[in-house]
Structures are given as C-alpha cells and as structure tokens.
Symmetry: C2
C-alpha cells in the first residue's frame, strides 16, 4: 500500500517523538512492502514564529492532499499566560479540526498491565478497563457564536441534526465492532442541545438492534468512570463534555504518555498522542515516544493494515515489559532510556 | 439563638433522613439553649403529585420567610426516562435555586480516615485531601437562552460581570478563611465567558494579596483532582463545569453519602446533602443520614454556632469509629444499623 502522510511535529517534544514514529513506520514499510511518503508541515507556535499563523494554508493544503495526518502536539508557554491572545497555538489546533472536518475524536482508554500501579485508581477498579470515548470535535461551544465585552460574555452551545447524526453513527458503528454497548453522555435534564442529542440517538437506536444503548448524565458519568470504569464500552458525547471526560479518562489509565487518538471526519483522518507538547522536556531526549508510535499504529489500522498495527503494539508492549522505558515510567533501578533509545529499540523490534 | 428553619424533605429517602437531622438539631437546641422552629414544605415529585408544581409558591414563601432552608433531595424514577418533560422534580430544583438567588454552591471535599479505603483512589493519593469547590449556581447554560426544534438546538452560556464578581468574592473570602489558595477553573482558551471570568478574577486579585490565585483549565483540573487532590484548597468555577467537577470530587472521597453542601445567595441560605434521593432505598430504613445531619451542622456553623457544629461533627465521627453505620459503609461482620438507629445514636451522643 502507498500512503501519503502529512507529518506535523508541532511544538515542544513533538519534533523529538515524531522521528521515532517515522522510524517505526519505515521499518514496517520495509518489512511489509509498503510505501510511506512523508510530507512535513509546520503548525502551532513554531508556525506562528515562521509566518504568524498557527495553521498556515500550506499546511492545510499538505493535509488535504495526504491520505492521513500524523500530528504530535502544539503549545508553548510563551502563549500560556494570556488565553485571550487572538493568535495562539491552540487556535491553530481548532482551525485544523474545523478545516479538516475532523468531527469525531476517538480515544481508546486502554490500560497496560505493567503500568497499572501508576494509575491514581486502585488496581482492583481500573484493571481490565477497556473502552473508547468518542468526542464530537467540530461543534458545540467551541464553534458557536461568541460575544465578549467588559460586562457580559456568552458562548453558544449549538448543534444541528446532521452534526449529531454523523457522530452518533460513528459511535453506534464503533460499538458494533466492539462489545455492543454504547453510552450516550449528555445533560438532557438541563440542556436543550442535549435533549436534541438524546432524541436523535433514540431515533437511531432501532437501526442498531445489536447495540445496547444507555444514557447517562455527564455529572454522573464523571463519577462512574472512576468507580466502575469496566462498565463502559463506547461513550459518545459532545465537544465540551468530551474535552473534560477524555482528560479524566486518560488520567485514570496511569499511562497518559501512552495514549494515542484518532480524529476522523470528512477529509483526511488525523492521528495524534493524547498528551500535550510538554515544553519543559523539549530538547532533553526525555519524552516518551510511545503515544506517537501507537498513533502511527492506529493510522495503519485505520487503513486496514491490521498485522502492521499489531506488530507495532507488540513492540511497544515488549519494550515496557523489558523496561526499555523513558524516565517517567522507568522502574526503580531500571536503566536510563531516552526518547531516541526507546524509539530505536521499538524500530529494531519491528524490523527484526 | 432562635432560627426559623424551612424543612424540605423532598423525595425518595428525603423523608427518612430529614427527621434524623431534626432530632439532632433538637438535641443541640436543648443542650445549648437555642430555639429551632421548623416549617415543613413540599417540593420535588411529591409536590408535583400534590399540586402539579415541583417548587410551589407556598414552599417558596416558606423558604423566603425562614432564616435557613434544610433540604434533602428530589428525584423520582417516574420522571427519569423522559428528561424532556416540562414539569420534573429537577425543574423544581432549578426554580428553587433561581428564585432563592442561591448563586454559590459550596461543597467541602473532606475525607474520613476510616472510610478512605472506600475511595476509588489510592489511599496514598487521597489521604489528607481537604478542599472546597465553589460552584456558581444560577447562571451559565442552566439559565441562558435555549432553543430546540427538530433539527437544531442551542443553549447559551452567558455570564454578566456582577454575577461573576459576587461568586468570586465568595471564593476569595473562603480562601482567606482557609489556606489562602484559590484555583479559578475555566476554559479561557476556548470560551468567551471563561475569558471574562478570568479577566475579572485578575482584576480582583490585588484586593486579596493574602490569597495565592492560580488558573486552571477545566480539562486539566478534571485530571489534577485525581492525581494530586491535595494541591487544592478552594476551587471556583461556573455552573456547568461545577456540576461535573463537584460530582467527580465527591466520588473521590469514597464517602459520597457523607458529604454536605451549602448554597448561599441573596436571600435564605440552603443546606443539603450532596447525594440524591436514592428512590430504590426509600422506605427501607437503609439510607445513611450523615450527609443530612452534617448539612445541619454546616447550617449552624453558618450562623456562627461553632461549638454546636463541632459537636455534631464529633458525634458523626464517633459513630463511624464505633461502626454505628448504615449497610453501605458497614465493615464486615459489623452490626446492622438502619437510618433511624444511626440517627438515634448520634442524637444520643449530642444529648449526653
Ligand atoms: C488546547 C485545547 C483547545 C484543546 C481542546 O479543548 O479541545 C485540548 O484541551 C484538547 O482536548 O485537545
Ligand atoms: C438534577 C440536576 C438538575 C442538578 C444539576 O445539574 O445542577 C444536579 O446534578 C446537581 O448537581 O445538583
């Protein structure tokens, strides 16, 4: 298979972890006879420095022309103290999502047995949890009409039927491919937009008779993922609730640095680690490349390359088991491995 | 001191736990020479059955005429399947908050050492956590303009300067009375309303030089309360974020059934357990009365009755230590105590 991959390393640790994912992809290409062509493009703070725009048109074009986008992270402390700045790395992120029509953010919440002890949750609660959170990514308060003056401000949490239908379709279908259990999370006891979500979900339910669908309020869900995470198979929710919930659910795995995600939509799909740009670690060969490498695995699986994805996952698992780990997850007395060493080890494993 | 107390038992277990709080209050009145006069009023599903209105005018008047409201909970499964019904117990709750001007919901997040093992979090993380979440309760998406038809729906997350100033004032002052650390939680990197919150908080900061103020995005906060709950002293946030966050933070204590809360505002202050109406347990003498009793303690403390509040807290602690506990927290092999037995024990302790 030939894949044109737009490569967006972004800021912070991005330029360090991205090459590791590329090395792994190259090893896969060689082993399985694929051709992966990389098209690097700038974004985030880096792009603001270069051209004043965190998601420049050139980058947009590179993404649109590619089969997939492999993205790392954006964000820079220089822009952090003033969230009111008009041009910030994060505005580029939102522009990227909107322009690429990436309406479905898919985050597997999976644990690694050998890292369970790092979860803030008790092992008896988190062990075996394995679910997927699907967050709507291009609607709701993020993109609704906004207003702000010195005395009053508002945001509009707006959703249209087609926006809701297409994300619920992704969710129902994901549940069909998994354990046939979908939890629609909303605040239908208070919000009109949630009521429309719930109405449409109920209309669609009969089309998916093999999926057991239930409904949960977001406040209740924020507790339930802590007390009973194994209850869940697929969760779907709107943009703002999803923002909060996905961060909460990645924290409970104990291995935030290992969680990949996919954003799917109208055009080119995008794959990225759940973690941020961790600017404090940039340039220090400290960052864990696994979430980036696993994002590449998700990308291959998206194109049906199951064996290729499985091999990358196996390599990552093996690296953990053999304690080839970056410092934040290294066991006591374990050797020191940096970003490049872990990447190299996984690449070798895949190649061998 | 004479206190006129509006008593709203509401639905489910409310009518069972409320009398226990009253018994305790009576014992306090006798011991300390106070006069507590109770004015019972209906609300919730119960009130819908009686007069079709979950927060009737008579109840409103009873609350307005009282010095404090002691409330239990509302909610009934008969209304749960259809959150689109116009008249539901929850609409009464929202009407109550709005009409009584209860703009500040104050939830202490405190742990009980002897119940720490029930927390979903590891003891090493949750032990010693002791903070306060202050949730704005009468603004934001709950009360902003709403619209819904078959194809489109929206809610408006709107805040005005006075609404923000008054809740931040409560938060800064609470931090002054506690450990002088305030965390303002928002989504200022995306929402205009959050940016106004942040702007106003920064304007007010200089008036509280003894408070260390920091700012955190809600998604980050939803992780941080799990990984580092001891970081927090006072958190303040808007209505919807607060709804999610307070449920998350009460889940981590491991003793949801023991958490009281206060809602303060323009008129009569209200005190209520954090837990809901637990309809499945109604009439079974199973429900834990401690959150209701501790809500009464918060009420007394609100009126400066420190020793009285402290005695109730001591009695509750003692009951836990001596395993005088309702079934959901009883230790293995412990005796069976129902709602009334636990209430009676605490009342006796206070009286003796
Ligand atoms: C950086 C921010 C705008 C973004 C969001 O809120 O969507 C981030 O929190 C995320 O979840 O990807
Ligand atoms: C019942 C519901 C309307 C209410 C809310 O969302 O405020 C509840 O969840 C709460 O937190 O008191």
């Amino acid at each position: 298979m030939k894949l044109n991959i737009a490569v967006l390393p972004g800021d912070g640790i991005g330029p360090e972890i991205m090459p590791q994912a590329i090395h792994v992809l190259d090893a896969i290409a060689k082993k399985f006879g694929h051709e992966f062509v990389y098209h690097e493009a700038i974004c985030g703070a880096h792009a603001i420095d270069v051209c004043g725009d965190p998601f420049p048109d050139d980058t947009f074009k590179t993404c649109m022309d590619a089969d997939a986008v492999l993205f790392a992270a954006v964000g820079d402390p220089r822009f952090d103290n003033d969230p009111t700045l008009k041009v910030r790395p994060e505005t580029g992120l939102l522009a990227m999502r909107k322009k690429l029509g990436l309406f479905a953010n898919v985050r597997p919440v999976a644990t690694f047995d050998c890292l369970l002890h790092m979860s803030p949750l008790k092992e008896s609660i988190i062990k075996g949890a394995d679910f997927m959170v699907i967050r709507e990514l291009t609607g709701g308060m993020y993109f609704g009409e906004k207003y702000q003056d010195n005395d009053r401000a508002y945001d509009t949490d707006v959703y249209s039927r087609p926006e809701i239908e297409r994300i619920l379709k992704v969710a129902f279908e994901t549940a069909q491919r998994r354990n046939h259990h979908l939890t629609v999370v909303d605040k239908a006891n208070v919000l009109a937009s949630s009521r429309l979500w719930r109405q449409i979900a109920k209309e669609m339910e009969p089309q998916y008779p093999d999926v057991q669908t239930d409904y949960m309020f977001i406040d209740n869900c924020s507790m339930r993922v802590l007390t009973d995470p194994r209850f869940f198979d697929v969760i779907v929710t709107e943009n703002t609730f999803g923002d909060i919930l996905t961060d909460e659910t990645s924290a409970i795995t104990g291995s935030m640095g290992l969680q990949p995600s996919a954003s799917l939509g109208d055009h080119t799909p995008l794959f990225e680690p759940v973690h941020g740009s961790w600017p404090q670690a940039a340039g220090k060969n400290l960052a864990n490349p696994l979430a980036q490498i696993l994002s590449a695995a998700m990308m291959l699986e998206h194109f049906g390359l199951k064996a290729e994805g499985a091999l990358i996952r196996e390599a990552c698992n093996e690296s953990l088991l053999q304690n080839i780990r970056t410092p934040e997850i290294q066991v006591e007395g374990g050797n020191h491995y940096g970003t490049t060493e872990v990447g190299q080890w996984i690449t070798n494993y895949v190649a061998s």
